[in-house]
């Protein structure tokens, strides 16, 4: 169904030949382009060819660079992963402890201060925060490079840009999850048994909170991907997000299609893996799934 929609959308939107070659192209060049891309055949033949190509994972050749779309995507996906791994780590290491801490200090100045920063992190869009980082660390201080992916220094600002906004959301979720689990019967039972506070927090409340956070992981992956689209473009990181925006600007349809289907497929796979992981981690869900 998805392929059908994409195909129809593609063909509804005007003649790719005219778009790629520009208004100056003469009729002969246009016809030549159409023949070379199979655009002169009847629509149903085009659709069958398109499905046949998809089945063998052939997504066509970029209209602009002439590189096969799949190669460009795979290369960019590697770069995006290289950026996403440290980002995910920083997000979790920042978001979860801060949220748990806020939950433990509920209602006090610490809690309110942290939650204020969380709202701020939520409201400042990635693209503005990234620019502010560049302004401060590159323009004023001259410490960090503002584009590319050459060495470790290049990671700092993109990772910070995505991680702060994601950690802001994550800390709110972690705070909620921790508050819930502090109210669970097992925690109250541990209190009445007179267990030391650290044991209650680390061995009883926290594992329960982490399990409910795991179910948010699918949402987190989606948010990371979306964050990457903006952030890669700010810092000229040669990943999938940048590839997508460049191809959209050039109306390079095969590449756009490859990136959208590729990101969609990776997210679905990752979500499935996360669901299985949370089944593994939480016996109660396993019973519910049966």
């Amino acid at each position: 169904m998805l392929t059908g929609c994409v195909f129809i959308a593609l063909r509804l939107t005007g003649d790719p030949a005219a778009l790629i070659l520009g208004p100056e192209a003469d009729a002969e060049a246009l016809a030549g382009f159409r023949v070379s891309r199979g655009l002169d055949k009847p629509l149903y033949q085009q659709y069958f060819r398109y499905i046949k190509d998809l089945a063998v994972l052939d997504f066509g050749v970029s209209y602009v660079t002439g590189i096969p779309a799949r190669e460009a995507f795979v290369e960019a996906l590697g770069k995006t992963m290289k950026l996403m791994l440290p980002t995910a780590m920083v997000t979790l290491l920042l978001g979860i402890p801060l949220g748990v801490w806020a939950a433990l200090k509920r209602g006090r100045a610490m809690d309110r201060g942290l939650m204020f920063f969380s709202v701020l992190g939520f409201a400042v869009p990635n693209f503005f925060f990234g620019l502010l980082l560049i302004l401060f660390f590159t323009v004023f201080l001259g410490w960090l490079p503002s584009y590319g992916d050459a060495d470790g220094w290049h990671y700092i600002m993109p990772v910070l840009t995505i991680a702060t906004s994601e950690a802001a959301i994550f800390s709110r979720m972690a705070r909620g999850a921790m508050l819930d689990s502090l109210n669970m019967p097992c925690v109250k039972a541990a209190r009445t048994r007179g267990l030391p506070n650290w044991r209650i927090i680390w061995l009883h409340a926290l594992p329960n909170a982490l399990i409910s956070l795991l179910t948010m992981a699918g949402f987190f992956l989606g948010a990371l991907t979306a964050g990457a689209v903006i952030t890669e473009n700010i810092f000229s990181w040669p990943g999938t997000g940048r590839l997508l925006v460049i191809s959209v600007a050039n109306r390079d349809i095969p590449t756009v299609q490859m990136v959208v289907l590729g990101i969609g497929a990776s997210l679905i796979t990752a979500n499935l893996a996360m669901d299985l992981l949370s089944l593994l981690a939480n016996p109660r869900l396993r019973d519910a799934a049966r």
């Binding site: 709202v119 701020l120 409201a123 990635n126 991907t225 979306a226 756009v256």
Partner: protein
């Protein structure tokens, strides 16, 4: 809200914390200045003055009071461009929100009315819309259809419709079990009349809250697309266009980017604070179902 407006305002001021009152005030000021853009600022947003290029904003040396927020690389007044950009951004977000709410309401009501296959189809479409990060779908749509202004508004509508559809469906399913819907049916009222005249007013409160909560997301979506250069196209400006433009001048003229960025943060921050307050005071009648962000 049967109170007179003045008593409503007084009760709001008494109940709301200072941060919420400040947010409402900021939003009001921004909205009014966006509406009155042409009256507030003497300079036309497109007026080029090459003698006055890259003037910094007022407290800094070399600034002038006739360009409060400075000028850009063509000597155009930043304040004036900002106000006109705000106007476009707000208009797009508003039109998109209204369109999205209408589509969502229609589909939600249809799902609740027909049940069965129609319901399944609407629910599948809702899940499909929630499965991919929306900015990727938006970029794909821009690649296919181009960056005309009505396409951008349509994208904003598609961004929000699923939440309204889910809300409208669930709320009207529960409204249908209440006595008044059955009574109307027995009286022979047409389905259209029941949904529009009777159920809609009953669920309007929750829908309006949802519109408020959705607004920052919509603004951010439009500004990010425009920032990436694939959204609103010059000569039209929006907050995102201004920010994306300012990015090229970060090293020489930081204020070109900082001015629109600050406005975006003010809008999203104020609405988020306001939305948190409304959710808190509704207490349980509304909960986040989907919180995807850009």
């Amino acid at each position: 809200m049967s109170d007179k407006p003045m008593t409503f305002i007084r009760r709001f001021l008494a109940a709301a914390p200072a941060s919420v009152v400040a947010s409402v005030a900021i939003l009001a000021v921004l909205a009014i200045s966006a509406v009155l853009a042409g009256q507030i600022c003497g300079h036309a947003p497109e007026a080029v003055n090459l003698m006055n290029r890259l003037k910094p904003p007022v407290p800094f040396s070399g600034s002038a009071f006739n360009h409060l927020l400075g000028t850009d690389e063509l000597g155009r007044d930043i304040l004036s461009r900002l106000l006109h950009g705000m106007r476009i951004s707000f208009l797009i977000a508003l039109a998109g929100t209204v369109a999205g709410a209408s589509i969502g309401l229609g589909l939600g009501f249809m799902a609740a009315h027909f049940r069965g296959l129609v319901d399944d189809m609407v629910l599948t479409a809702i899940d499909f819309n929630a499965a991919l990060p929306f900015i990727i779908m938006a970029l794909a749509m821009l690649a296919f259809f181009g960056s005309q202004i009505y396409i951008i508004i349509a994208i904003m509508a598609v961004y929000g419709w699923d939440r309204y559809a889910r809300l409208a469906r669930n709320l009207s399913l529960s409204a249908l079990t209440e006595g008044y819907a059955g009574a109307l049916l027995a009286l022979g009222a047409s389905p259209g009349r029941i949904y529009i005249r009777h159920i809609l007013p009953n669920i309007a409160g929750v829908l309006i809250v949802n519109m408020t909560l959705n607004f920052p997301g919509t603004i951010l979506l439009e500004t990010s697309l425009s920032f990436l250069g694939v959204g609103v196209q010059p000569p039209l400006t929006s907050l995102g266009v201004l920010l994306g433009f300012g990015r090229d001048y970060l090293t020489t003229a930081w204020w070109i980017a900082v001015a629109p960025g600050t406005v975006i943060v003010m809008v999203t921050l104020s609405i988020t604070v306001l939305g948190d307050f409304i959710i808190g005071s509704l207490d349980g009648t509304y909960s986040f179902s989907k919180s995807d962000r850009l």
